[in-house]
């Protein structure tokens, strides 16, 4: 029995040696991409754009192999990171952390294993771990939305806010927004969490409508929420009373902006395609002689009737 175990062990070691040998022969550069699973609309867009980028990158660079791992929670994502390093033996990691705090140390360990690390969207809690940081601008999204509402209402009016899932992202957006309208005569009647979800957006807005007889504007912050809000306002027959400012850049909303819908005059971008940006920058590290390390902050572009067609992607699921 003992000899058999030894034999098995030896066979395993040999097998491993062979496997790593063949990997060496191909000399493929492996890029691991770890992202949250498609649990809400925006994350769905994220998954779509990651998959599209994988196809495009692998077609353009035969020596690069992209491996995408999706996780339903922070713990699962930490496991994914370990697998990417120890099983897949990646050369670089692109990660959109589920949450900042719990994933800081797992990502740090990837870095300590000598991998190139790109962090997307949600920053880590310790500085200096990542080589590249790519993100949308959450405070700016809030600020731009506040700026528009303030201007549209001439600095005076009653608004309601539908917040997202209680996270740093939501916190930063709301802070940016409130700071911008500070000092004006814009009164926030109430804020409630609608969890970046259509059904919740619909129900929260229904209740706002029965509670407040006069609402001038709605900041929905996210386009999934916006879709629920639109139905609630239509049902209450109060479409002429107010307008909605959403965010993210969902194709349905962009289409409405493009068509000049009075209810949704603008949308503020927070594109899920930022994952593709991050993957491209990471690839450049291996194929270009240009320096890539640094921080890339995408703008919170305001989509209006005039420029909407530049941001309309009918084939994307988001």
């Amino acid at each position: 029995m003992k000899t058999f175990t030894k034999f098995l062990g030896a066979a395993c070691i040999m097998g491993l040696g062979l496997a790593s040998g063949s990997a060496m022969a191909q000399e493929k550069i492996k890029i691991g991409v770890s992202i949250p699973a498609a649990t809400h609309g925006w994350a769905g867009g994220l998954n779509y754009h990651a998959a599209e980028a994988e196809k495009r990158i692998e077609a353009a660079y035969p020596n690069i192999d992209v491996i995408i791992a999706t996780a339903k929670g922070a713990t699962e994502q930490a496991n994914d990171l370990e697998d990417l390093v120890s099983v897949q033996n990646i050369d670089a990691l692109v990660v959109l952390p589920f949450e900042s705090d719990p994933l800081t140390v797992p990502v740090q360990q990837v870095k300590q294993a000598g991998k190139f690390v790109t962090v997307v969207d949600r920053g880590l809690s310790l500085p200096g771990i990542e080589d590249v940081y790519v993100a949308g601008n959450n405070p700016e999204l809030g600020r731009v939305s506040g700026e528009y509402i303030k201007k549209r209402l001439d600095g005076k009016g009653k608004i309601v806010i539908l917040r997202g899932i209680p996270t740093v992202v939501d916190e930063e957006r709301v802070e940016g927004f409130l700071k911008e309208i500070e000092g004006s005569d814009i009164e926030v009647l109430d804020m409630k969490h609608a969890n970046w979800n259509r059904d919740d957006g619909y129900e929260v807005m229904q209740d706002f409508l029965s509670r407040f007889p006069k609402i001038d504007a709605v900041w929905a912050q996210d386009d999934d929420i916006t879709l629920g809000v639109i139905e609630a306002i239509k049902q209450a027959d109060r479409t002429d009373e107010m307008f909605i400012v959403g965010g993210a850049g969902m194709k349905d909303i962009i289409k409405r902006v493009m068509d000049g819908d009075k209810l949704t005059p603008i949308d503020v971008l927070y594109p899920p395609s930022m994952i593709a940006t991050a993957m491209d920058i990471t690839v450049l590290k291996f194929v270009s002689n240009g320096a890539v390390e640094g921080r890339y902050i995408l703008g919170a572009t305001v989509v209006t009737e005039e420029n909407a067609k530049n941001f309309y992607f009918p084939d994307s699921p988001f």
Binding site: G41, Y48, R198, D199, V204, S210
Partner: protein, 337 residues
Amino acid sequence: MSGLERSGQNASSRFSIDFKALGPFLALVLLFILGTSINDAFLSSGNLSNIFTRSAFIGIIAVGATFVITAGGIDLSVGSMAAFISGAMIVVMNGLVETLGPGLETVLIGVVLSIVLGIGAGAINGLVSTKGKIEAFIVTLGTMGIYRSLVTYMADGGTLSLDFEIRGTYRPVYYGDLLGIPVPVLVFLAVAVAGYVLLNMTPFGRKCFAIGSNEQVARYSAIHVDRVKTMTYVIQGICVSVATIIYVPRLGSASSSTGVLWELEAIAAVIIGGTMLKGGYGRIWGTVIGAIMLTTIGNILNLTDAISNYLNGAVQGLIIIVAVFLQRGDWRRKKSK
């Protein structure tokens, strides 16, 4: 009530039964008083109609869950099943627009498809758990994951949206009303009445009670236990499809986040209503009240800013526990006698 006595539950006095039946209703009245005191808008007809309409989804699903739980089973897959059926309806109806146009036929085909899928999904849950001799908890946990993944897959991880022309045809099913009562409320009522008759006035209902209180005894009493249990899952499936049929025209979309946690809300509604989680005793009207209560809690929290948004879940949890405690209080007293 006759079912209750025949199934051998310890219903010693008629008075205590009435009190127990009244329990959830009293809790709901208290909740309504609370709501009114917090905000005058609570009792406005618009808000009340919102509450009842919203309760319809969970309520209809919970009526089905009452059968499953009464017969000693559990179905965790209903939320995912609702999302999957919504997704399938949307895909098929969108596909039919070109050949059939956005008219009534397309919507009817969607509705029929929904019922067929509901029956099929329920039958799978029932047959696998009874014939396969696997605990319903595990079977439905499995199908929960399967249906959820299927809808994510159909939507490419994004959102499936119903064609805008079909929405026009289909819209009245959610937004319409008859004599001022919204259609979803009427459907909810119809499902509840049908459920009540089936559970309390037919041999089938009595068999559910019997199986839930003691499966072995039921088997020896020549009840086709597997058949009856499978039927309860099929009824649950049909209820899910009915709920889906009125859900789809609301926002005309389905995604992986559709129906998340509906299974727990449905189970909570059933238990708040006085049905026992271990089976053997079920009450449809209690379930209806339970579903309305759950919606009302959410509505009240939206009408006030006195409680931090972050604590909404805590308040909901507390009210659910207190509601069930009030009801079970008399159970304990009765036993100690």
